[in-house]
């Protein structure tokens, strides 16, 4: 018996509408939902759009704008990864001398990465953007990305920490500031966050001493011995934003010490936290059960088994729903950048070195998110020590895979590698598959000539 090919896919037209200026012709790009394949993608069509504010451009996957960033945020949203913020060094020539100044990436644009087609889009956002930041933290609840904290550096305004929450509506691509009741968290950067049951949790961070310490009696603050009042301190705040209100839940168990530049991952109803810096760099490993609010310090079942070295500025990503985690890179106690991936196995209660890559590259202060199934992607970060005069920035994303890519992606790679012969054939391919291929083939910046 034969099987009839089902053609004709259902489209659900979304509110997002963007302009793309191309060879003098205004093109509109919309985010459309492919019902059959259950994925979102950008599709171009030739109608003029009423809302002229947003702008979407396909980006070259090798563009420095994507990879030259440190202290940025990256979150997974549907089949995209949203990358925002961070800074890089910019060489300036001023008064007959070259100086290196930090250049913070614009706050009114995000980079969207399509995990399946492996295509980047730069999207301009309207609304009230936050200041340009590094070291902030973000999480996705529904169709919104919440952003908190971070450090800003501005020639006129000086440096300061941000203490407000900003929300990015991922449908309309608009920023908004959120005013919440209750005692707000301490201003800080290099903290972690996770989203559970519609609540945005924050933990730890490094920031200025609070002006109003009376509100933060239950928060432990720690600083270098001999630190002055104007110096900054580490904290161990655990606070969540729920229904427009800041809540400070009570916890029990082995509470972690204050820290910053640690990493967290959420698996089911448990949040895992590894390492970070409190003066010295740490490699302790904690789990917070969000149902019972009990902290547990996790020790490997075999005390003689190898454990990851103490580090900060690393990343921790959940691999599946069973509690397997991937730890990558960071900066160790001897101020050396690291390149070792580790996998935490909950069944064996141990860390084991990850062998998915034969030569994992050095990464610190990068951002990691899950990609497609069985895949973790690292964006940005440094490929050398941050203490160098001219640190080396990441030149591309790092993919860690436990499972082979889908056949669709493998074929797209081959078509991409053989552009001259692929392009004419694409016009015989049904849309939206053709749209995906075209997006991939044009990602190097040059449009195919028809």
């Amino acid at each position: 018996m034969s099987y009839r090919v089902v053609t004709g896919l259902c489209y659900f037209n979304f509110n997002l509408c963007c302009h793309q200026h191309c060879i003098g012709v205004w093109r509109c790009s919309t985010m459309e939902h492919d019902e059959e394949r259950q994925r979102w993608m950008f599709a171009e069509h030739d109608e003029r759009c009423e809302n002229g504010e947003n702008c979407v451009e396909p980006m070259n996957a090798k563009s420095p704008k994507l990879h030259r960033r440190v202290g940025h945020v990256a979150v997974k949203y549907k089949n995209f990864v949203v990358v925002w913020g961070g800074y890089e060094d910019d060489e300036q020539y001023d008064n007959n001398a070259y100086t290196r100044e930090p250049y913070y990436h614009p706050a009114d644009e995000v980079m969207l990465y399509d995990c399946e087609y492996e295509v980047w889009h730069g999207v301009r956002i309207h609304g009230d953007p936050p200041p340009r930041l590094c070291g902030a933290t973000a999480g996705v609840i529904g169709d919104r990305m919440l952003l908190f904290g971070g450090f800003m550096e501005d020639r006129q305004l000086g440096t300061s920490n941000v203490r407000t929450v900003y929300e990015l509506d991922l449908n309309k691509m608009a920023w908004k500031q959120i005013w919440a009741d209750g005692v707000p968290p301490l201003a800080c950067d290099k903290l972690v966050s996770w989203c559970y049951e519609g609540k945005f949790y924050l933990f730890g961070g490094f920031g200025p001493w609070p002006d109003d310490p009376g509100y933060y009696r239950d928060v432990r603050l720690a600083a270098h011995p001999g630190a002055m009042r104007e110096d900054r301190c580490w904290n161990d705040q655990l606070v969540r934003l729920a229904d427009g209100r800041w809540e400070w839940p009570e916890t029990r168990g082995d509470r972690p010490t204050p820290r910053a530049a640690h990493a967290a991952a959420l698996v089911g109803s448990r949040a895992y936290i590894f390492g970070g810096r409190l003066g010295n760099r740490l490699n302790d490993f904690y789990c917070l059960d969000l149902e019972t609010m009990v902290w547990t310090k996790l020790e490997p079942s075999d005390p003689a088994a190898p454990v990851p070295a103490a580090r900060s500025w690393h990343s921790l990503t959940a691999l599946d729903d069973h509690g397997r985690l991937l730890l990558y890179g960071g900066f160790d106690a001897l101020s050396q950048p690291l390149a070792d991936p580790w996998i935490w196995s909950p069944s064996g209660q141990r860390w084991s070195p990850c062998t998915w890559l034969s030569e994992p590259p050095i990464r610190m202060w990068h951002a990691a998110t899950p990609g497609e199934a069985g895949e973790v992607v690292l964006f940005g970060g440094l490929a050398s020590s941050v203490l160098l005069d001219q640190p080396t920035y990441a030149s591309g994303s790092v993919f860690l895979r436990e499972t082979p890519k889908s056949l669709i992606r493998l074929c797209l790679d081959v078509l991409d590698a053989n552009r001259e012969t692929s392009v004419p054939l694409v016009w015989f391919t049904p849309s939206p598959l053709a749209d995906g291929i075209i997006a991939r083939l044009t990602a190097c910046g040059s449009k195919p000539v028809v």
Binding site: M1, S2, Y3, V5, R37, T355, W356, L357, S358, G374, R401, E402, T403, P404, S406, L407, I408, L410, C411, L412, V414, L415, A417, N418, T421, S422, L425, V426, T429, P430, L433, I437
Partner: protein, 139 residues
């Protein structure tokens, strides 16, 4: 030029062009109790037929890599395929279906792999047809 790194020991790939050649492997498979057959709901193997009448006999577990084949073989009685364990693809020619079967082996072999996954070689001339087949088969 890289060679294929994966070994195909697990793949029993039989070509049977109708009415011309019956390979020894196929006959052995039907009688030798060590290999499963294509009959019945618990069959180890399934038959995938291309548009030009080549039959590919692959392990059921491997074929289930494809979401479409998974639906066809386990759907509630809608398809006759789930009774006979045979699927015919009227739009997929044999040179493409062959690559699809090889992908099934590659995928199963390297899922949850602890080593670096080697490349899967695809002839650029077949890439677009293979992409359309992969899109249809959802794999």
């Amino acid at each position: 030029m890289h060679c294929c790194y994966y070994h195909t020991a697990n793949l029993l790939l039989t070509w049977r062009h109708k009415g011309i050649i019956m390979s020894e492997g196929a006959e052995k498979m039907d009688e030798d109790p060590q290999y499963g057959g294509c009959e019945g709901p618990d069959a180890t193997y399934v038959k995938l037929r291309s548009s030009d009448n080549h039959e590919f006999i692959v392990k059921r577990e491997h074929a289930l890599t494809s979401g479409t084949i998974r639906n066809m073989l386990s759907g509630p009685g809608q398809f006759k395929e789930n009774e006979t364990n045979e699927v015919t693809f009227k739009e997929i020619p044999s040179h493409v279906l062959q690559m699809v079967c090889m992908y099934f082996t590659y995928k199963v072999r390297y899922t949850n792999s602890s080593t670096e996954i080697p490349d899967f070689q695809i002839d650029p001339k077949v890439a677009l047809e293979l992409l359309m087949a992969a899109n249809f088969l959802y794999c």
